[in-house]
């Protein structure tokens, strides 16, 4: 399989995602420049973290208009996997590929810290290696991660199991104290209706090697690789 990592001007987790997929996993991976429109060689596109276009105006608001995003929408419509991390999640919401929005953190400060995520749905291509209710230790690093959706959308997300990750305590309890940014229902990651586009604020690429403090992010990469390999038998 082949991963593509999108680089917008101002993206900075591109190098980190590339490192994990290429050095830790030995996967075939290439960068996708924001002006590119042909993604036909890829199985999974990653929209990494950073400050695309400086996050000027609003995080993701400018990036959604870049040429590559049209191609990403077609790619998603074709059922291929799209993973938006941090700024990538914000861009997916701005682009309408995921519902809701990421507001300024409720305490108005940037937060870089380890958080614990409870896996709410293991029947997605991004979490099939996890067990229901498993707790993953993965860090966040954002100023605008406060997930918000209108009540109808929220109810639908909850009803259809599209909330994939929730901020929780290390023991897996979903509490207000475990919520680092004010996200509604402690939501840390959601998936689209078709189940192939996932957005999450935490950074799995920063938790993919024990030496950095956690390797729990590997459950996500393992899931993706297993899912794609299952559909493209060698």
């Amino acid at each position: 399989m082949r991963f593509g990592i999108v680089r917008f001007p101002g993206t900075w987790s591109d190098l980190d995602c590339f490192h994990v997929l290429s050095e830790v996993y030995g996967q075939d991976v290439r960068y996708v420049w924001h002006r590119e429109t042909d993604l036909s060689d890829l199985d999974c596109v990653i929209l990494p973290g950073g400050f695309s276009y400086g996050d000027y105006l609003r995080p993701g608001a400018i990036a959604r208009f870049s040429p590559v995003m049209g191609a990403v929408a077609d790619f998603a419509a074709a059922g291929k996997l799209v993973l938006g991390i941090c700024n990538g999640f914000q861009i997916l919401c701005e682009a309408g590929l995921l519902p809701g929005a990421l507001l300024r953190n409720n305490h108005l400060q940037f937060r870089c810290q380890w958080v614990y995520l409870r896996v709410e749905n293991t029947e997605t291509p991004f979490t099939l290696a996890c067990v229901q209710g498993q707790v993953l230790k993965i860090p966040i690093s954002h100023g605008d991660g406060n997930y918000f959706a209108d009540p109808e959308t929220l109810a639908e997300l909850e009803r259809t199991g599209r909330v994939v990750f929730r901020y929780a305590t290390p023991a897996g309890e979903v509490t207000p104290e475990a919520n680092p940014n004010g996200s509604v229902n402690n939501i840390a990651g959601i998936i689209n209706r078709a189940g192939n586009v996932l957005g999450m604020m935490p950074h799995p690429e920063r938790a993919s090697e024990e030496v950095l403090g956690s390797a729990d992010g590997r459950y996500i990469w393992d899931s993706i690789i297993r899912w794609v390999d299952g559909r493209n038998p060698a």
């Binding site: 101002g10 900075w12 400050f51 400086g54 940037f110 870089c112 690093s141 100023g143 950095l212």
Partner: protein, 749 residues
């Protein structure tokens, strides 16, 4: 000569005379402005250059030494080099804390990627007045958000630094930023002209009227009129910086023979002149070709603007298109603004006419001053500390004891909650400290540790400096700053390999300030020699004073250490129940109490005094560091933490808090003063823990290096206990330490 004009450009009558003499004519307005900027203390190091020669700068790992380039460079093996530099942005931050600090980060980042090195770590050394004053809270919050917003957007992790509060910094906060970069040795770039005919290409942000006279402003004392200087503070754009960073690294990777010089203080003038001086050439600049942010700018404004996020590229004419293509890819504007000449002159053209022409050497060789320093008598008097007048600690408060003497447990809790000691998590959680996935040990430990991908190695980074010690004795205080930085690196298992320094002082034209400066540089030099660590870069920020009130003399030492094997990284937290806790270095009450308490946080917080004469034995320091480093490398030591502010009791408590586990079984019988033993800040001490079976090996190691060891107690439980002296739940101490800074911020509002 018009005195107002001279004051505006920051030159003295004498200096103006020198210019006229060397030039053989009077300079015009533009030329005068260029000389003023480059002869400012900030650019020209008029008062510090002769002193900085004292610092050792040679060593087997040194690739680029101080003053040669925008940053120093040392080799770390496996074909990799590390670039490092620290720089101040004190004056701008005092006037406009958010932009002042933000552009401080931007400037130091450019110093590093100018070398072709990818910035992999930022550290901030900050000093403020007490948070009880509203203005200090404004400065503190502004500086922290400025650093956060800039560093986070650019995507370089902020992994360490320190924050310290003292009334002497109330009007003049210190904002020192250190950056460390990583490069392949064969991809390093130089900031110099290549050969005559090469092109000068200006890339990045357009040039505006911001920051004009910034270098001059940074070389003057602050006063009532300072608010009016806010326009001299530059405004940062981290997004453009990020694009510049990536484009410059792509340029370095391209292998094209280019020189790169960033634009900082004194803008185009300093960048072009410094590159020409290094290359031994001249330069010709056509200001009409400089992209402007606003119409009607004069050549003077264009040449001296300090607009941020700009870079000067020196490229061969045949490579112009290739260089341009890289900048176009990153969406950056660029323009060829001039060329390298052979005549050793900097020539400025406007409207096809020569509007200024000066010898490069005139600009880069300002007069230097060696003054006669003399301490104030009351400073020397401060070294006397009469302990008989200070009540020692008592164990309990009892109704019948009206002595008012401090109680041990209360003091321990108060010290842990003091903003100078309390956790700085409130600050560093606002900084991305993990991006680039190298952070093995993040902020909060003795030093941060970053792995070097593709090798088994890691580097450790830290900054240190104690203005109170330096105030009481600048020579000894500066030695302690060096020793403590090195000790911090050793505590995480790293061998110190290079230093960078930032000298933060008042007005050096005053004999007492010059004395502090000279003594401090001498102390740094002696300590660096004793510990065999070269200085490879540095910066001086003088004139940190307002209406005659100077900051504490504060030399900040930034240091990089090398860890050969990533499996031997050590952290401060206690690890396991039953481990022995051992003090490496002078025993708890084995030193003179007056020197132990000199300049201590305890003395300041509890007795409201900054007095005494701090002391350090560099030979013992070196042997203590060797013992700890070897102990970590051989897998004997499981945790290590430097004893610094708050002394031994605070260090022990911090080891417990970091490890989430208690301490017990220390039967301490003080022979002298209890406060000096528990809270004295005697140097050259490290608290380590070892499994009981390893103690004999630690003893042998210490014996070989001639270093005293004291067995203190045992790791375990959830209480912090010194038999008969302190017995507190760990949770109480942890709460005080974790919440101290936030409470000081909130309680004050």
């Amino acid at each position: 000569m018009d005195a107002t004009l001279l004051k505006q450009v920051g030159l003295t009558e004498y200096e103006y005379g020198l210019v006229v003499e060397r030039l053989g004519r009077a300079p015009n307005h533009l030329e005068l402005g260029m000389v003023g900027a480059l002869w400012s203390e900030h650019c020209g190091y008029k008062h510090t250059k002769p002193l900085l020669k004292m610092l050792p700068s040679a060593g087997p790992r040194v690739v680029v030494g101080p003053g040669e380039e925008n940053a120093g460079v040392v080799s770390i093996g496996d074909g990799y080099v590390v670039a490092l530099k620290i720089e101040s942005h004190n004056h701008p931050s005092a006037v406009e804390p958010y932009q002042g600090a933000a552009t401080g980060v931007g400037g130091i980042l450019r110093d590093i990627f100018t070398m072709g090195a990818r910035p992999i770590a930022l550290l901030d050394s900050l000093r403020f007045g007490p948070l009880s004053l509203p203005r200090n809270r404004y400065l503190f919050n502004g500086v922290v958000s400025g650093i956060a917003d800039y560093g986070n957007c650019v995507g370089v992790p902020t992994v360490g630094g320190e924050v310290f509060f003292d009334p002497a910094y109330s009007e003049n906060p210190l904002v020192n930023v250190m950056c460390v970069g990583l490069a392949k040795a064969d991809r390093l770039l130089r900031a110099r002209t290549g050969r005559p005919g090469d092109l000068l290409i200006l890339v990045g942000a357009a040039t505006g009227r911001d920051g004009i006279h910034g270098a001059t402003f940074a070389s003057a004392t602050l006063g009532a009129e300072t608010e009016a200087l806010r326009p001299a503070v530059q405004v940062g754009d981290p997004f453009t910086e990020k694009l510049l960073l990536e484009a410059c690294l792509e340029l370095a990777e391209s292998g094209l023979p280019v020189g790169l010089q960033d634009l900082g203080a004194a803008g185009i003038t300093a960048a072009a002149v410094e590159a020409a001086a290094r290359g031994g050439h001249g330069v010709e600049i056509d200001v009409d070709r400089v992209p402007r942010r606003e119409a009607g700018m004069t050549p003077y404004e264009v040449m001296l603007s300090e607009s941020q996020e700009r870079m000067l590229v020196i490229a061969r004419p045949e490579d112009e298109a290739k260089v341009g293509a890289i900048f176009e890819k990153w969406g950056l504007n660029y323009s060829t603004i001039g060329r390298v000449t052979a005549d050793g002159l900097v020539r400025v053209l406007a409207g096809g006419e020569v509007v200024g022409e000066l010898p490069v050497r005139l600009l880069t060789e300002p007069p230097t001053y060696r003054l006669e320093g003399r301490p104030l008598p009351e400073w020397i008097e401060r070294r006397r500390l009469d302990l008989s007048a200070l009540a020692d600690l008592r164990l309990f408060a009892t109704p019948w004891d009206s002595s008012g003497a401090p109680v041990v447990s209360d003091v321990l809790i108060r010290l842990l909650a003091s903003p100078n000691i309390a956790s700085k998590e409130y600050v560093f959680r606002q900084y991305d400290h993990q991006v680039l996935v190298n952070t093995v040990v993040g902020p909060g430990a003795d030093a941060a540790v970053l792995r070097v991908k593709g090798t088994s190695r890691a580097i450790a980074v830290t900054t240190d400096g104690n203005g109170r010690f330096c105030f009481l004795n600048p020579y000894v205080g500066a030695m302690i700053a060096v020793a403590e930085a090195a000790r911090n690196l050793v505590c995480v298992g790293a061998e110190p390999i290079a230093a960078t320094d930032c000298l933060n002082f008042g007005n050096p034209e005053r004999p007492e300030i010059y004395w502090q400066l000279e003594e401090a540089v001498r102390g740094m030099a002696d300590a660096l020699r004793a510990l065999e660590i070269p200085v490879v870069s540095g910066n001086a920020s003088l004139y940190n004073e307002t209406e005659g009130r100077a900051v504490l003399p504060t030399p900040i030492v930034g240091m990089v250490g090398l860890i050969d094997d990533l499996s031997h990284v050590c952290t401060p937290g206690f690890k396991a129940e039953g481990d022995l806790v051992v003090l490496v270095g002078p025993p708890p009450d084995g030193v003179d109490p007056a020197s132990a308490l000199a300049g201590s946080e305890y003395l300041s917080l509890v007795h409201n005094q900054v007095r005494g004469e701090p002391d350090i034995d560099l030979d013992l320091e070196r042997r203590v560091q060797l013992t700890v480093l070897e102990g970590i490398r051989r897998g004997i030591i499981r945790s290590a933490h430097d004893c610094s502010e708050g002394g031994l009791a605070v260090a022990l408590a911090e080891c417990c808090i970091h490890g989430g586990i208690g301490f017990r079984d220390w039967a301490f019988e003080p022979g002298g003063r209890l406060d000096a033993a528990l809270f004295g800040e005697t140097q050259s001490r490290v608290v380590v823990s070892v499994s009981p079976g390893q103690f004999a090996r630690l003893q042998e190691l210490a014996r070989n290096f001639g270093v005293p060891l004291t067995k203190l107690g045992i790791v375990g439980g959830q209480r912090f206990t010194i038999k008969g002296i302190v017995d507190l739940p760990l949770g109480v101490l942890a709460e005080a330490w974790r919440q101290g800074l936030v409470r000081a911020l909130e309680g004050a509002s």
